[in-house]
């Protein structure tokens, strides 16, 4: 079997996707250095070819729909091992059957990509709630997140719409990447650690919030299992009220 390797970027992935779609044999796609690439595969480095990437996108939108393209983007951002080959199988099905394939919800190829995209959309919505900012001495709002999926770019429009009058940073510490919003302009930059000087009032506001959080629980209804279902332990270390 042949495995197309890509550099980890979306454009590189789309290049690999286009190459794999052109191949008559059954293929796989994997990120360079990914362990699941397999020992007995023939490896091909895909490189990045903007024309091929655009052709792959065009195919998805033409044979599928805008929804299909969103599913591909979201499933890619899941970063779940095997998602790339899952997307390949899904796009092959779209290419063969056309837009109707999107309705084949019980088909494993469709179901897999829909499920991956659903996880990414779900975690994005969760983090609209779970992002916690601290105010720094220069009044910048800083938040550290460690989501399972690469949702930073999906989160940003939400915070841009509501915190447009502030300067803020959302730092994905798991991927050493940050969205920096400064005076109305947005940039993404690698960021591995940040030295933070908190605003003098910060500790006081944090204490108010923690106390509020503790107080609102009705003790006759304590249900930590339900709480764990809604706020999984893995997310708690970056949540002010659980710190």
């Amino acid at each position: 079997m042949r495995t197309y390797l890509y550099d980890g970027n979306f454009e590189g992935f789309l290049t690999a996707l286009s190459l794999a779609l052109d191949s008559a044999d059954s293929c796989a796609i994997a990120k360079e250095g990914a362990e699941e690439a397999g020992l007995f595969s023939e490896f091909v480095n895909s490189g990045t070819d903007p024309l091929r990437a655009a052709a792959a996108r065009d195919l998805v939108e033409r044979r599928g729909s805008a929804e299909s393209w969103q599913n591909v983007r979201y499933a890619f951002l899941s970063e779940v091992p095997g998602s790339e080959t899952g997307i390949l199988e899904y796009v092959k099905l779209l290419a063969a059957k056309g837009p109707g394939a999107e309705n084949m919800l019980a088909d494993d190829r469709v179901k897999k990509v829909h499920a991956l995209a659903g996880k990414v959309g779900g975690e994005t919505h969760r983090f609209m709630g779970f992002v916690r900012f601290k105010e720094l001495a220069d009044k910048t709002l800083y938040s550290k997140i460690e989501p399972d999926h690469n949702i930073l770019a999906l989160l940003v429009p939400h915070f841009r719409a509501r915190l447009g009058t502030f300067n803020w940073v959302i730092h994905d510490a798991r991927r050493n990447n940050a969205a920096l919003y400064f005076e109305g302009r947005l940039v993404y930059a690698p960021l591995d650690s940040a030295r933070l000087l908190e605003d003098a009032k910060e500790a006081e506001v944090r204490e108010l919030w923690r106390n509020f959080f503790k107080t609102v629980a009705i003790k006759e209804r304590i249900n930590s299992k339900l709480q764990r279902q809604n706020v999984p332990l893995k997310y708690r270390k970056n949540l002010t009220e659980f710190e």
Partner: protein
């Protein structure tokens, strides 16, 4: 008293209000801070598993009334506190910009008079909107008995407004809430309903006209403090949805915080009953059921062992099994184990080809319940001779694989996903 202590007292006294939704509004726009999200956002979940989406506080826990069920009753000599409009607006803003919350839920005990209370609450929300230019979500309680012009203002500042009925009948109100009657609660409610629908009509023709409580109106009923049956409660909710066009009715299991000879002695809040009422409420709002279909005069009580849709289906076996490849959406919704999402998926998936029983599972249908009520391509995998009793026994087996009955405890609740029904988010 410092702010921390005040907040503690006023959050503690507000927490028995079940409403937590931050949905139904898409306020926002240029300048200012904040926006509302149509489907609402939960920010955290407290130790009782309830979602936290708003800074839910009372302006004050002082009260001129002496309602038996209420923690803030006049005769309760717990410490009293009051927050100024500036403190409320400032606190909301500080919490909001750190993304702790979606906005403010402001309620209050009655200080001095209903009018004075309402004026101060309006002042807090007006400050938040005008001074802080805050576009996040605001849920405001309307104080029964306040002047109509004050009540009218609430909907201009808030996304959602609510008046709590609390006790599901006039008789119970008179007994436990001297100073309140059905009329004092329903008058402001219907006034708000009129204003909300008038504003909706106006905005249909003139888009720029101001929204009046765009996220609508809700209310709350306390469950188990008084003798009303589930049928009476669900009939009341149905009327509130149909006639007052309420967005939500919340049910709050009575927590006996206060001792009073007029109140029942309960060991634990009736959580399972509350859960069943939420399920029945969901059936009214999203599944096309009527109250009379779920409960009649001979059976006025929701079954605690089965969800109300399963009970309805077992009592109407002559309508089943349903062929999933042909049945319309409205009928699919009535199958136990098929929800709104899976019914929509069935409609979509069968456009691509006929569905088998195995496919249903992949679409998210809960087959252990649905299996008795559906066929796929004519195939049926339920019981050979279907009968009410046989299906009930089978369903019970699934609930209690170890043969132990735990119908009233936490386990049964958890299995059925209590989370979905009390969160208030959709």
């Amino acid at each position: 008293m410092d702010l921390d202590k005040k907040l503690e007292i006023l959050a503690d006294s507000a927490k028995y209000d079940a409403s937590c939704a931050s949905s139904g509004s898409d306020r926002g726009g240029a300048g200012g801070t904040g926006a509302a999200h149509m489907s609402g956002v939960c920010h955290s979940w407290a130790a009782d598993g309830r979602c936290i989406s708003l800074l839910k506080i009372l302006m004050t826990n002082e009260c001129v009334y002496d309602c038996a069920y209420c923690i803030n009753r006049r005769s309760n000599d717990s410490p009293k506190a009051i927050l100024t409009p500036d403190e409320i607006a400032g606190l909301t803003f500080e919490f909001y910009k750190r993304n702790y919350i979606e906005g403010l839920f402001l309620s209050s005990g009655i200080t001095v008079s209903p009018d004075r209370t309402m004026e101060l609450m309006l002042e807090a929300v007006r400050k938040l909107r005008e001074q802080f230019r805050f576009n996040g979500y605001v849920h405001m309680k309307v104080i029964p008995g306040a002047d109509q012009s004050l009540i009218d203002q609430a909907g201009l500042w808030a996304d959602r407004v609510s008046v709590n009925i609390e006790l599901p009948s006039d008789k119970s109100l008179r007994l436990l809430a001297p100073g309140k009657t059905k009329a004092t609660v329903l008058t402001p409610m219907s006034r708000l309903a009129d204003r909300i629908s008038a504003s909706k009509d106006e905005r249909r023709s003139i888009k720029s006209s101001p929204a009046y409580a765009p996220a609508g109106q809700s209310t709350q009923l306390i469950i188990g403090a008084t003798p009303e049956t589930d049928r009476e409660i669900i009939k009341l909710s149905e009327a509130l949805y149909d006639k007052m066009r309420l967005k939500r009715v919340y049910y709050s299991a009575f927590v006996p915080i206060m001792k009073d000879s007029r109140l029942p002695v309960l060991l634990d809040p009736p959580l399972l009953r509350e859960h069943r009422l939420y399920q029945a409420d969901w059936l009214l709002r999203f599944y096309g059921f009527t109250a009379d279909e779920l409960l009649d005069e001979k059976h006025p009580t929701l079954d605690l062992s089965f969800d109300p849709k399963t009970v309805w289906a077992i009592n109407n076996l002559h309508l089943f099994p349903l062929e999933v490849n042909k049945a319309p959406y409205e009928e699919l919704l009535r199958v136990p184990g098929i929800g709104v999402t899976s019914a929509k998926r069935i409609l979509r998936a069968r456009r691509a080809g006929p569905l088998s029983l195995d496919d249903l599972k992949k679409l998210g249908v809960v087959m252990k319940r649905a299996v008795y009520f559906v066929t796929a391509g004519g195939k049926y995998a339920g019981l050979k001779k279907e009968s009410e009793e046989a299906i009930k026994l089978k369903l019970l087996e699934h609930k209690n694989p170890n043969g132990q009955l735990d119908l009233f405890g936490e386990k049964a609740l958890m299995k059925e996903g209590l989370a979905g029904t009390v969160s208030g988010q959709l």
